[in-house]
């Protein structure tokens, strides 16, 4: 059986795990940002779909992946803008609008795909990888972690950038205050609405980018419902991570690895139905919650719209 698991194959499995993890990572980081600022962003699946569709459109017509990531992020921002206007500015129910946006984007992108691509199913060429010298020569680990598109390294760098932002900057303080006690932020002279708007728009950009990566690199094409619930996984990751970006990274990787594990076990001929293997990451998380889940600390004002001077 060891023969089956050649270095190349193991490398490919892990590479696949990372590729699957990146959209989850970006969505999770985005959701975490919104939640920190007090906005429960259920519309993130819709933002990812918009990012996937527009990202693919951009990359396909321009021939540049980077432009695709840009248009993807813009797509996410466009959806986030609606969310920010409706939920942050005028305080509509975040759950209603979030679900509505997700449903709407599912329908809209499927509709557009139908009229545009459903006869030709265009596909992008392979994403070019930035090979990190030396590190990429390590067996198994090298090809798995150090031969990705540049955006993957940027996404990982973002994890640490966000960690720095939350803990060491004035903006980090503002975000936390916006989620924990928005009135205190307001009287300190910082506009809560603006802070939350910025957070939601950034979430949109990250989710859109995640969607674009999923379509352009993960799949190389766009098809309806391509995100398959990745946004909801992002929400779960963000909540499990309790405000720490690194935990989003670990969580995303766990999911990615479990997906690859499914393939590995099949290739090894272990006869467990995929349904059961697919339950593994969720089981793992549930067990973690049962063992260590005490008092998951969410921001006090999460999900509650802020209105100045309201009683």
């Amino acid at each position: 059986m060891t023969g089956l698991f050649s270095e190349v194959f193991l490398g490919a499995l892990l590479f696949g795990a990372v590729t699957a993890a990146v959209p989850l990572l970006l969505a999770g980081l985005g959701e975490q940002l919104s939640e920190k600022a007090g906005v429960l962003n259920i519309g993130i699946e819709g933002m990812m779909l918009a990012g996937a569709y527009l990202g693919f459109l951009g990359a396909f017509y321009s021939g540049s992946l980077w432009l695709g990531f840009l248009t993807g992020a813009a797509g996410g921002i466009a959806v986030a803008l609606i969310m920010a206007l409706l939920c942050v500015r005028i305080g509509l129910n975040q759950i209603v609008i979030g679900i509505a946006l997700t449903l709407g984007l599912e329908g809209l992108t499927a509709l557009l795909h139908h009229f545009q691509f459903s006869r030709s199913y265009p596909r992008l060429p392979a994403a070019d990888a930035t090979v990190i010298p030396l590190l990429s020569d390590i067996p198994v680990v090298g090809p798995a972690f150090f031969k990705h598109h540049l955006i993957v390294y940027l996404a990982v760098a973002l994890v640490f950038a966000m960690g720095y932002l939350y803990r060491r900057t004035q903006l980090g303080l503002n975000l936390q205050a916006a989620g924990d006690k928005p009135a205190a932020l307001d009287v300190a002279g910082i506009d809560v609405i603006r802070t939350r708007t910025i957070a939601v728009l950034t979430t949109g950009a990250l989710a859109g980018l995640g969607g674009a990566y999923l379509a352009n690199v993960g799949a190389g094409l766009f098809i309806p419902f391509i995100t398959n619930g990745a946004g909801f996984l992002g929400i779960v990751l963000a909540m499990l991570a309790r405000g720490r970006p690194v935990w989003v990274l670990f969580g995303a990787l766990l999911f990615g690895v479990c997906l690859s594990l499914t393939t590995a076990m099949q290739v090894a001929g272990i006869n467990i139905p995929t349904d059961i293997i697919q339950m593994l990451p969720f089981l793992a998380v549930m067990i973690m919650l049962v063992l260590f889940g005490r008092r998951a600390s969410l921001p006090a004002a999460l999900g509650i719209a802020y209105e100045r001077g309201a009683r």
Partner: protein, 365 residues
């Protein structure tokens, strides 16, 4: 701290200010619902125009096939049954300030349980008894599925959004495993459960194709509404939802009530699954997941967790899904357009509620 006060708090804020409904109130509500629906239709109509479809024809078909044709209205009413049960379950949870987002998993497990038990039970006992037992087992299984999130929330303070979402992912997979490995009908090549014969399913109403599950669903949601608004138990749950600390202070057994809320909410979701199987579907196929939960959640919010309003919104959803499918087929628009229409409608309705609220406030000032 946790997010728990959010859903209940807003709901209660609304229901506390709304006094007894007068005729004018009802008229006003109706206008504030129909107006936005019209606006949503116009917006969605513009999208139709862009893709080259006549919106009037489209809506004509939606109305005709979802509402005004005898066949259409029967289909619409039949579709409502499971949605009503789901809505009832969500009302309990949301009013008590708990985000049961695990409805789909509970629904599927309830469905699988019903599909596994009913065909067997009808062979050994009278049909009415068999179906009743089947309903009860489904309810219990769904309740059991909610136990872990309930206990974690009640005694460990673990946020239930995460746990119920996880359990819904797990429940969906488990339902599939059960269908494929445990309850699989040996007589078919397709992995699905045994089929409950049409004669043994819930009777249809009068001479129509409407399932009597509709009556059960209506009864469930009305009972839930009355319990939540008119009884001590309901008030206790609403206190927990609006201010958990006040509930502790008032001596309510918050952990126990929490578990009760989850059990009721999940039990109703399980019944939704059972009523769909025993009333309409007859069996469960592997990988079947209608994901009703996602559409029902906003409907319940828009109804401000009021049971009667929820019935209205569920009806609207059903008309759109039945009529929209037909209209799409006739006019060559992909069926996905219905999603866009529902989405626009939700947003416009939410906006209208906001405008209405603002208007009322400025009038009172």
């Amino acid at each position: 701290m946790s997010i728990d006060t959010a859903p209940g708090a807003s709901a209660n804020a609304l229901d506390a200010t709304s006094g007894a409904a007068t005729g004018r109130d009802i008229l006003h509500r109706l206008l504030m619902t129909l107006g936005p629906i019209l606006a949503a239709l116009i917006i969605a109509g513009c999208i139709l125009l862009v893709v080259g479809v006549d919106p009037l024809a489209y809506y004509g078909y939606v109305l005709e096939k979802g509402l005004f044709s005898p066949l259409g209205i029967q289909q619409t009413l039949t579709r409502m049954a499971p949605l009503l049960f789901l809505a009832a379950g969500l009302i309990v949870a949301f009013r008590a300030g708990m985000w049961n987002l695990g409805g789909d998993g509970q629904f599927l497990l309830g469905a699988v349980t019903a599909a596994a038990s009913a065909p067997v039970l009808v062979q050994v006992m009278p049909a009415w008894l068999a179906l009743t037992c089947s309903f009860l087992i489904s309810m219990v299984v769904a309740m059991a599925w909610s136990l872990l999130p309930a206990l974690l929330r009640a005694y460990q303070g673990v946020n239930e959004i995460i746990t119920t979402l996880m359990m819904t992912f797990l429940g969906t997979s488990l339902a599939n495993v059960l269908v494929k490995l445990v309850f699989r009908d040996p007589g078919t090549t397709v992995p699905q459960t045994r089929t409950l014969p049409v004669e043994d399913r819930l009777p249809r109403l009068f001479d129509t194709t409407i399932t009597s599950g509709l009556v059960l669903g209506l009864a469930a949601i009305i009972i839930v509404h009355l319990v939540m608004t008119r009884t001590a138990f309901g008030l206790k749950l609403r206190i927990v939802g609006a201010n958990p600390r006040a509930a502790v202070h008032a001596g309510l057994g918050v952990p126990r009530l929490t578990v009760a809320v989850f059990a009721i909410s999940a039990g109703l979701a399980g019944l939704a699954g059972a009523v769909d199987i025993i009333g309409v579907q007859g069996n469960v196929r592997a990988d079947w997941n209608p994901a009703y939960g996602l559409a029902v959640i906003p409907a319940v919010f828009l109804a401000r967790m009021n049971g009667f309003a929820a019935i209205g919104f569920v009806f609207l959803l059903s008309v759109l899904s039945i009529g929209g499918e037909s209209a799409a087929r006739r006019l060559g628009v992909p069926n996905h357009f219905t999603l866009v229409l529902v989405s626009i409608m939700l947003i416009v309705l939410a906006l209208a509620e906001y405008v209405d609220h603002r208007y009322n406030q400025s009038r009172k000032a």
